[in-house]
Subunit: 339 residues, 2 copies
């Protein structure tokens, strides 16, 4: 019998479920195997009030159907949010997500400049209410430097709001890993693809649109730094796929959109990666335990049984091309047991 | 009357004319406005003997028809070439082109390792016969480091063969510009696109396959270093477009081929660029004079009259998408006078 492996209540702490047809097409790819996920609010227009959060969550619940899955909702951060507003929406959300203006897909209404005094009322209220702040940390500088340049802003905010939990989203650099060690209130999510690829995979041979994402994959020494903290399930890092579907046509068009779709293969490939590095015992914390502790959440109980038998990844899932499309991966999903 | 500008006998010291249908489709884009060009030998299979050079040149002459244009032919470098062979082919070629094995389009049969003693017989013979060596200088390292890592190989060869003219092809880095100053026998070609773009333009916003090339565009400080030597027409640099057509489908496919097609717009955009930097008086040396002196060639006399009136670049030339496709550039070609 092939080797089996059980993963309990996996969590994806950074997920794009989109809306409309795309939501219907891809929601189950996450909801089937994950127990819950932090849902990004960068719809068009972004999710910025209680009614929209509730409505978006209900559309998600409809899209996932019978699956046992908790969408942890977020609001699109605005410095205009006051304490009364945050108190009113507190029960509907798990975090706020801050985008620097114009930095990635649908982030046009984000924050410009990071003046601590301008942000103080909102961030103080979030800190008091125990609402974590998730940040897409990139400047508008040269593409390979954007995240490293943002680290000083992470550090400035972490210092100014020492009780605020700040999650550095989808970190890609050695500099971000180092910042994690310096500030007790800095945490991080790491994607699957940033553990696997560098810029070489995107643009070193042929140009590979399906591996193009923001932040862009960096250097080998950056990937090494990410792997080190992921494989030991550093207590401040969590898995967050940043799985970000775009229609096949938008990815392969001239001027392709940023985002890698990993939701349907993330658990299997993480198992393969952790096994290869003899770190399977750390996978539960990376993919569930750390997130439960950091966010203080208790997701629906789920057991995903993986089996070590080759699986050929489909060329697309309802028109969205996944990472490893058409390639063979080592693990298959044998069954999912709920409750 | 719009401002006019005459360019005399422009030379493109690094050009891919391909073969077969593609050659027929794109040869005139260069032959109409340029007086001559160094023709790259990386066909499939590569051009490696006298008969192939002669046959390829005759196919080129047929493709350019009535245009007055000199194709300066090259052989695909192999360390097995001996003095007798080089003597026999001397009159048919202007240079040899060395590709590290597997480094770019159709370079599979190139050089692996750069052992001076292994290369000594061929390079000594080239040196004695006055045949320049053109090199695509990239290692197989991380994509952003490949050219800088190769500089030590350029320097090793320049030192070991001090009478051999070595042309660093399509340089993209500050490191290569610096090497130019250190060795009297190192020269360089610079493309149009590397004077204009950085990695930001390829992958900083949307992914842009039509700006994807090898070597990949680098950092802003690299572009600045290239601009400095180009705009002053540094006596050791020459224009070489590396215009490299691929069918539209191959550029926009998932896993797109490397190469930017600039031949039809190179002169106009160079004029615009040099004018913007108040360096129009240096353009003749960058685009013709330096190459004539370095290579010792006298191309057919041609006057290209540019006119400062906007030109909308076609979306494609016989199925090949040019740089600036669909965009407006400042200069148009008014007329070309031969002889």
């Amino acid at each position: 019998m092939p080797q089996q492996l059980s993963i309990h209540s996996p969590l994806d702490m950074h997920l794009h479920l989109r809306d409309g047809e795309m939501l219907k097409n891809i929601a189950k790819a996450s909801a089937h195997t994950f127990s819950g996920a932090i849902i990004m609010p960068n719809l068009v227009p972004p999710v910025t009030n209680k009614e929209e959060v509730i409505a978006y969550k209900s559309r998600i619940m409809e899209a996932i159907g019978e699956e046992s899955f908790e969408p942890y909702m977020t609001l699109f951060f605005k410095p205009s949010y006051d304490r009364a507003f945050l108190e009113s929406v507190r029960d509907e959300i798990t975090a706020l997500k801050l985008y620097p203006a114009g930095i990635t897909t649908n982030s046009e209404g984000g924050v410009s400049g990071f003046d601590v005094e301008e942000l103080r009322p909102t961030l103080t209220a979030m800190s008091d209410l125990g609402i974590p702040l998730c940040i897409h940390g990139e400047t508008n500088g040269f593409v390979m430097d954007r995240e490293a340049e943002f680290v000083s802003i992470y550090e400035k905010l972490a210092t100014a709001f020492p009780e605020l939990k700040i999650i550095m989203e989808h970190i890609t650099t050695k500099e971000s890993v180092e910042a994690l060690e310096k500030h007790p209130n800095l945490y991080a999510t790491i994607t699957l693809h940033h553990l696997l690829i560098t810029l070489d995979d995107v643009a070193g041979g042929m140009l590979q649109p399906h591996l193009f994402c923001k932040p862009i994959a960096k250097r080998p020494h950056d990937r090494k730094a990410l792997l080190e903290v992921a494989l030991k399930a550093h207590p401040k890092v969590m898995f967050g796929s940043d799985s970000a579907p775009h229609p096949k046509e938008a990815k392969e068009a001239c001027g392709c959109a940023a985002g890698v779709f990993t939701a349907p293969i993330a658990l299997q490939v993480l198992a393969e990666l952790f096994e290869k590095h003899d770190a399977l015992d750390r996978l539960p914390d990376f993919i569930s335990g750390n997130a439960m502790r950091i966010y203080g959440v208790t997701p629906p109980s789920k057991e995903v049984v993986l089996e070590k038998s080759p699986f050929v990844v489909p060329n697309d899932y309802n028109g969205v091309v996944p990472m490893y499309a058409g390639e063979e991966i080592a693990y298959s999903i044998k069954e999912v047991n709920v409750g």
